[in-house]
Symmetry: C2
Subunit: 179 residues, 2 copies
Amino acid sequence: MKRIGFLLLAVVTVAGVVAHMVRATGQSDEDSSPIYGVKIPTGYRDWKLIAVNQLLFAGKGEQLRAQLGNDIAIKAFKEGTLPFPDGSIIAAVHWTRVPSEDNNKVLDGPFPGTQSFVIGSLVNVQFMVKDSKKYAATGGWGFADFKDGKPGDKALHEACFPCHAPAKDRDYIFARYVR
Amino acid sequence: MKRIGFLLLAVVTVAGVVAHMVRATGQSDEDSSPIYGVKIPTGYRDWKLIAVNQLLFAGKGEQLRAQLGNDIAIKAFKEGTLPFPDGSIIAAVHWTRVPSEDNNKVLDGPFPGTQSFVIGSLVNVQFMVKDSKKYAATGGWGFADFKDGKPGDKALHEACFPCHAPAKDRDYIFARYVR
């Protein structure tokens, strides 16, 4: 029994040290994305707008989306710089799309039959962080997907890079900046 | 003849002086909105994002839209301040909505049948400028609608305030800030 107790203690201690080490490197915090260790960047919601888009998932809901960029990313978008420089971060903000009865009432006067849709609530937020050395194996980008402030699981994050691969000629970024 | 020549000269001179005076007050520049004298604010495209919406005009095209705010407006939105303080400016940026075959190809793998729409090109940009004294007759807001950098005509701008009247309890602003 003593031997088992010691072993248990040892295992728990080692696990604690490993957890602490992992936390110290910032790679696997509970608030960081698996694989990439990306956290939600402070103040991202105030970043500049790259573009807007809409998704109609077949039978799975409708979204309105905005892509925002930090200053390094926005500068690269405006100047058409490829690849994006290290330090670029792009945020993809996804909301539910809901019909606006208020807007429809107003618009029906001048534009009869017009349908207006607005954003309802936040679904998830995704980030791409450029670090050509740290993320060399995934095109220089680290990925993250957060829902209610918590990152998705490893399987979800394994899908990020292959999904972005078709946009390789635009440095893996789908969004296009439009004036 | 001399008398007519003098009169003509006088008329031309007076017209020139009036044109200069009008220009100096900033009320009726060719790059200012009629009635309100609002110009396109420098750098508005880099303002922070309030919200996103979508309009399906019956038989008249489809738009994706974003509302951006200067710092005074954004602070008021976040804190729920009503009425908006003087100096608030809100920009409504309207683009064409176009299907993205590129995105659809990528999304069809994980989400079969998904339809993606992105922004195509700029249609028009509208501004609301808060100045409770200058625009006291129109809820404290000055309005402007620009297409290709040129303001719309007087009739168009006469429609702005009545159209926004239904949102009086939100200080005439339709857009709602969503995190």
